[in-house]
Amino acid sequence: MFGLFKKKKSASVAKDRLTIAIMSDRDRLDQYPFMDELKAEIIEVVKKYIGVKGVSITKEMEGDVEALSIDVELDKDHTD
């Protein structure tokens, strides 16, 4: 009888592990095939107005809302 409660059933262990693994898989940006092109295009657009060193894009999640956060690093020599 006590054996029933001894340990967590392996199916529920599987579910927990999968949920976490898949969440982190989905967060990885290399899932987006267009990411490099997107970065290059953003650099091109910003460059028209101001010097730019690089662009980093991260995916952020809050509850059900997903957002791409785009950081544009300016090139110091060209800022003034």
Partner: protein, 270 residues
């Protein structure tokens, strides 16, 4: 104009080709014109499962390259007159696939058939991407185990970003088939239940197929299990096909079959 359905899984060995064969035959049994296409270039398998390996003369790549016309290459199923099969190329490597040629082939098939079922290769490489490129819908096949489900999620991610329909602002419909369910193990908590898998993958359920020893026997003979009316897996595939053909078929609880709690209880009093 027919509908194009890619059968995908990510992981190999989960029953993708078996599912393609049974679905193709089941749709044909519903009096719809259906063609199944083996997209696993270099690793032909669907011909064996359908029992048509001796009839392959021309393959898909030869059709795309204009070395054979489509009519010559389409092989008639022995089991049903509504089903045709187009073989994968055995010799050429998959880098031979080109989007424009695939599109042309699929468009030609859509004109002839109500259903065009594409058997994707395992993995998520270029051969897979080409299979899903012009699909209207996808059937995702998983086994109730962690690596299969994780790989399926990756394959779905690629489908959602690289298919032609998505690139043009549309959406590829996705349906899940859970294959090789062992009801005893689900009952005892040693195997993931379908609700959990659906939670994780977040797509709609098309069918649950129980583990069935008859599958190997069916493959041995080249006669898909759906032809065996007594087989549990065959019956499950039939329900899947009826759903695909627009019938409302109740989802049978294969995780709770006769070996479930009721039988166990009655067994106690024997």
């Amino acid at each position: 104009m027919g509908v194009v359905i890619a059968v995908i899984s990510g992981k190999g060995g989960v029953g993708k080709t078996t599912t393609t064969a049974n679905i193709g035959l089941g749709i044909a049994q519903n009096n719809k014109k259906c063609v199944v296409v083996d997209f696993d270039i270099g690793q032909r398998n669907l011909d064996m499962i359908l029992g048509l390996e001796n009839r392959v003369v021309y393959d898909m790549v030869q059709v795309m390259e204009g070395e054979s016309n489509l009519k010559q290459a389409l092989i008639k199923s022995k089991a049903n007159k509504n089903l045709r099969f187009l073989a994968a190329s055995q010799t050429k490597d998959k880098s031979i696939l080109e989007s424009s040629k695939i599109e042309k082939l699929i468009r030609a098939l859509k004109r002839e058939f109500d259903f065009v079922i594409l058997d994707a290769p395992a993995g998520i490489e270029s051969g897979y991407e080409h299979t899903i490129e012009f699909a209207d819908a996808a059937i995702v096949v998983v086994n109730p185990e962690v690596s299969s489900i994780r790989d399926a999620d990756r394959a779905i991610g690629i489908l959602d970003s690289k298919s032609d329909k998505v690139k043009n602002g549309g959406e590829v419909e996705k349906y899940l088939i859970i294959n090789r369910i062992v009801s005893d193990m689900v009952q005892s908590g040693e195997m993931l239940r379908s609700e959990d898998i659906l939670d994780i993958l977040d797509i709609s359920l098309l069918g649950k197929i129980p583990e069935d020893r008859g599958i190997v026997d069916a493959s041995n003979q080249g006669k898909p299990v759906i032809l065996d009316k007594d087989s549990l897996a065959g019956q499950a595939y039939k329900r899947v096909c009826d759903r695909l053909c627009g019938e409302k078929v109740e989802m049978k609880d294969v995780e709770n079959n006769d070996k479930g709690i009721f039988k166990k209880l009655t067994g106690m009093f024997k």
